[in-house]
């Protein structure tokens, strides 16, 4: 306790030098917590959005289907498995049929994915209720905000779509844009048109067939059936995990550079302090303190920078980070079309684990860099030190 008081008094006595170090170190606390909180918030938000809009609680894929390989789409349609029929009828499992098509907005040709989904489903948040009643001349369709923007589509617009049926025969019809939805998951939006499943099955000549089945939380996850491959959340969200991991690595490097600069300042302060306070060190040893007690005192003094920095960081960091957690961090518009799930605003999530780990990590790092120059004290000759001889 005495050592603690002494260290605190010495630190405060050093004045501006101490507070500059503390300020830089406090920035490291805030930046590390901020960056990790933002990535954690993005991770949670992306996964929730993907579950709500695209993947549900898991999926079953028709064998051979690979969403990243359009070559597989032509053949990837399987009959609904009989075991799933009750769940499909109750809406706990939602079938989706996927096919390639050409779209002609404003007389331009564009390759798209045509997706058929039951009009009455409410498992994912695509506004499929708007697809009902498209039995007239034009098929009713819903598109995402990005698709609508890139093709200048409005609700009520009529656009021609052309596709090939299961026999390879060309067919074409007009599609009426019944609704435009806004979501943060580009993989259900960009280059895609959603129409009613029954209608699409008739168009393609594929009654009772689908490319994938989306599972809700009420449907058991371990159903297996011939011709269908189960894809759990771990597989379906692997892309988000990979992305966050990559981003996290880049952010960690940045935070570590900042922390290294702050620790370098602490290290320098320690070196200078030991150099300038040799007489004091010599006197302490002469008065009966062991060398290691003095080393401990100086190490504690250095480590106290981290404690003070934590207090200063809390003073300005808590209101700042809390405000951002409430109002969110706006993302640049260019991220909208990057192809991964990212909201217009990211709401950081600061877990207590993150805060505790950050404090402990910086405290240990500050202690280590304080101890390294203090080791010199153990080699000091107290008589020479009292005389003020440089050693």
């Amino acid at each position: 306790m005495l050592g603690f008081k002494l260290a605190l008094r010495n630190l405060v006595g050093a004045g501006l030098r101490t507070w500059l170090n503390v300020l830089v170190l406090s920035l490291s606390y805030v930046v590390i917590i901020y960056v990790n909180g933002m990535l954690h918030g993005w991770d949670i938000q992306a996964k929730v959005d993907m579950k709500n809009w695209e993947i549900g609680e898991g999926q079953y894929w028709c064998s051979g289907y690979d969403p990243l390989d359009p070559f597989t789409l032509q053949e990837s349609h399987c009959a609904f498995p009989q075991e799933f029929m009750p769940m499909i009828q109750s809406g706990e499992v939602v079938p989706v049929l996927v096919s390639l098509a050409s779209f002609y907005p404003e007389g331009r040709i564009q390759s798209i994915q045509l997706k058929g989904i039951p009009a009455g489903q409410d498992l994912i948040r695509i506004p499929t209720a708007s697809l009902a009643g498209g039995e007239g001349e034009a098929i009713k369709a819903v598109v995402g905000r990005r698709m609508a923007k890139s093709n200048q589509l409005k609700v009520g617009d009529l656009v021609t779509a052309r596709w090939r049926d299961r026999n390879g025969t060309f067919d074409a019809t007009d599609v009426e844009i019944a609704a435009i939805f806004s979501c943060d998951v580009p993989s259900v939006d960009m280059g895609q048109i959603w129409i009613d499943l029954d209608q699409m099955q008739r168009m393609l000549g594929m009654p009772g067939e689908a490319t994938l089945l989306i599972r809700g939380d009420k449907a058991p996850p371990d159903l297996t059936t011939a011709g269908w491959v189960e894809k759990d959340l771990k597989i379906l969200l692997a892309e988000v995990d990979e992305l966050i991991k990559t981003k996290s690595f880049a952010s960690t490097v940045m935070a570590m550079i900042l922390l290294a600069l702050a620790l370098l300042a602490v290290f320098d302060t320690q070196v200078l302090s030991i150099f300038r306070r040799q007489r004091e060190i010599g006197t302490q040893i002469a008065l009966g303190m062991t060398r290691w007690q003095v080393v401990r005192l100086f190490t504690l003094e250095g480590a106290m920078h981290a404690v003070l920095a934590a207090i200063v960081a809390a003073l300005y960091g808590i209101p700042l980070l809390a405000m951002q957690a409430r109002s969110g961090i706006p993302m640049p518009q260019s991220t909208d079309t990057m192809g991964f799930a990212i909201a217009e605003k990211i709401f950081p999530v600061y877990s207590s684990g993150l805060i505790v780990v950050t404090i402990i990590f910086i405290l240990i790092a500050a202690t280590v860099v304080s101890y390294l120059p203090a080791r010199k004290i153990s080699r000091l000759n107290p008589t020479e030190a009292i005389k003020g001889k440089i050693q």
Partner: protein
């Protein structure tokens, strides 16, 4: 007297028999002058098919945002083998395409790579034109796959035509319905329309500048138009064509692409 009667009867019989034998031919040439659709298609095939062809042509793409012209030389044997080399503009010069039956390869000199065009890539436009790669691959003989019937006469560009409607015999053809306008005198198609299953007009081809080359009538200007797209279509103009010229087998080798 009896001999005279016998002679007259014999003459009448010979005349009747001759009429019975020649009736189908007379019905085409003298009575209705309308050959069957099948006969028309066979005459077109005879007029247009050749063992081999070598020709130079220009492809002019009339897009919404302007016009582009490409020069090319094409070697083909039957309807299964074809080799195309782009000669101009400088950006496309050296691009080569090889079609062997239902496979298509393309060499791009800028990337120095040969790629096989397949799957969804077949749906893409050839050099931004109104033709897709799969249109290029469509080489099935009409007489083998379609039931045709003459639906009436018409006049196109001042030429008398027969209008033929073709319905697919099987469900696995790209187009279930086609309509063709055939020059009655030269047996050359002057227009073709391709329809979707729903009846929507998808593509239109206009053929003109018909010339007599090596004893056959051949259209040297073809305008393809994707009817769902805006723009003036894609014009294909043949500058020089030679039929039944020997072409080395090595021309259709993948190694010729580089």
């Amino acid at each position: 007297m009896k001999n005279v009667i016998t002679l007259n009867t014999r003459k009448t019989l010979i005349t009747l028999l001759s009429l019975i034998i020649l009736l189908p031919y007379l019905s085409i040439s003298l009575l209705g002058q309308t050959p069957t659709a099948q006969q028309i298609l066979e005459r077109i095939d005879r007029n247009q098919s050749a063992d081999s062809r070598i020709f130079t042509a220009s492809m002019i793409i009339h897009a919404q945002r302007g016009e582009r012209t490409m020069e090319m030389k094409i070697w083909s044997v039957g309807d299964q083998k074809s080799f195309t080399e782009y000669l101009a503009p400088a950006r496309e010069k050296g691009t080569k395409m090889l079609k062997l039956a239902d496979q298509l390869w393309m060499y791009s000199p800028s990337a120095d790579r040969t790629i096989q065009i397949s799957g969804h890539m077949l749906r893409q436009s050839v050099m931004g034109s109104d033709l897709s790669y799969e249109d290029m691959m469509d080489d099935q003989r009409l007489t083998d796959n379609y039931d045709a019937q003459v639906v009436g006469p018409d006049t196109l560009g001042g030429r008398d035509c027969w209008v033929l409607e073709l319905r697919a015999r099987s469900t696995d053809l790209a187009y279930q319905r086609r309509k063709m306008w055939i020059d009655r005198e030269r047996y050359v198609p002057l227009k073709e329309e391709l329809y979707a299953k729903s009846g929507k007009l998808l593509k239109q081809t206009l053929l003109s500048d018909v010339k007599l080359i090596d004893g056959r009538w051949f259209p040297t200007r073809v305008v393809y138009q994707d009817m769902l797209k805006l723009g003036g279509g894609t014009e294909f103009v043949i500058h020089e064509i030679r039929f039944n010229v020997p072409i080395a087998e090595s021309t259709f080798n993948k190694s010729m692409l580089k």
